[in-house]
Symmetry: C2
Subunit: 227 residues, 2 copies
């Protein structure tokens, strides 16, 4: 469902020029569970931002469900970001003056769900990530790992077909990490396509395919051998 | 050099009340290298904020170099935060409109170091964490792991006696994590006292003492057996 060919992304601000992606070829089939790894600065988040239609590539092509993303209108892209793709940001990106509950409701506000249904689904999502007792806290009244879990809950709440999670367990202890991994595995069994950027070999081992980035290109792309 | 007795911290905003620390006893000798672990939400960052004089406890005592911190003036606390303690925040807390270089210079501005020396020390610190080629980037022009390394460089640049690092490798791949660990071990050999909150057993194994938090109290406090 995702076909990326010869993708390049250059950040050029005049003062600085960085080749963040240097010709990436990447296809993702429906229902895959992929871990992306690679050194800090190797282009993983940049790739995720392009996949999530949050950023436009400099060159190359990105076909999403057989449609060239570069031909899509801004409205259509906004719909895709809201309905089709759930995105967990590496730095959470929660609204600071909004409770955990309202933060998780936000994607459903855009989707025009009625208030009662929004609240119920947000509560359910927060409970699933272990934050049932923190729903009314503001982000700065939450621990780092709790903020991360609010970001995860928010990404799942519109039941998107594709989930892109950029280092979703970086701030979590092993127990909480496992709980998040179980959630992703369960969603994958239900048919969701999931891409997780991770530094943790343990998470990568529990995915079905591992992709490794280095200096803006993919240097390895392997199925995971299940023991 | 750090003596904490029966420390409690209650967050009470009227609407919500959380007992973040529930009677913590904790002493740290000069030159120790301690890893703090524990589940998400168990009070680790709260403990670090109290240790770093960034937050006042609700009850109990905190003696730093034999002085009761609760008796210190705001000016004295500001000096301690600037000169004696280097703090790496879990969520980096970089200034958004300031380059990596200027962010790292900031503690030295407060310490009134001359501009030429500030710039040289900032460059050195950024190079040591592998960011020699990213000095003029703004935080939003850096990857997550690069932002984390700027936060680490900034904490070290005033050559503080005590380093408090709250999950300094959460966004780093294993290679970059090792580099950071080596930096901390080297500083510890030079006599610095270092406390690292981490979720990674590998980091904990390379420290000399492991402390485990759960529900706002310390449930384990052991020397690391060197094999
Ligand atoms: N300002 C605040 N107001 C209310 N509750 C708070 C506040 N800050 C933290 N808490 C709560 O206090 C508890 C401890 O938070 P703390 O940040 O110390 O956890 P932590 O161990 O660092 O977790 P993590 O591993 O997720 O970073 C959490 O349950 C959190 O929800
Ligand atoms: N807006 C930007 N302007 C300039 N350079 C940028 C920008 N955003 C990212 N970069 C650079 O592009 C490269 C790739 O960044 P990216 O965030 O994709 O890395 P990453 O693999 O996600 O790293 P990490 O594991 O540290 O999160 C980095 O070297 C970074 O400095
Ligand atoms: Mg990244
Ligand atoms: Mg924390």
């Amino acid at each position: 469902i995702i076909e990326i060919k010869n993708l390049t992304k250059i950040y050029d601000t005049g003062k600085i020029k960085v080749n963040a992606l240097n010709g990436v070829d990447f296809s993702i089939g429906e229902g895959e569970l992929i871990a992306i790894m690679g050194p800090s600065g190797s282009g993983k988040s940049t790739m995720m931002n392009v996949l999530g239609c949050l950023d436009k590539p400099t060159g190359g092509t990105y076909f999403l469900d057989d449609t060239d993303v570069s031909t899509m209108s801004e409205d259509r892209l906004a719909d895709i970001r809201n309905q089709k793709i759930g995105f967990v940001f590496q730095t959470f990106n929660l609204l600071a003056r909004t409770s955990a509950l309202k933060n998780v409701e936000l994607p459903m506000v855009y989707a025009k769900l009625p208030a009662a249904e929004r609240e119920e689904r947000a509560r359910k999502a927060l409970t699933a990530v272990g934050l049932g007792e923190r729903m009314y806290h503001m982000p700065n009244e939450l621990s780092g790992g709790q903020q991360q879990r609010v970001a995860i809950a928010r990404a799942l709440v519109n039941d998107p077909k594709i989930i892109l999670a950029d280092e979703p367990t970086g701030n979590l202890d092993s127990h909480s990490s496992e709980e998040i991994l179980l959630i992703f595995q369960q969603l994958n069994r239900e048919g969701k396509t999931i891409v997780i950027v991770t530094h943790e070999p343990d998470i990568a081992q529990h995915c079905k395919r591992n992709v490794v980035f280095k200096d803006g290109v993919i240097i390895a792309d392997k199925k995971v051998e299940t023991v």
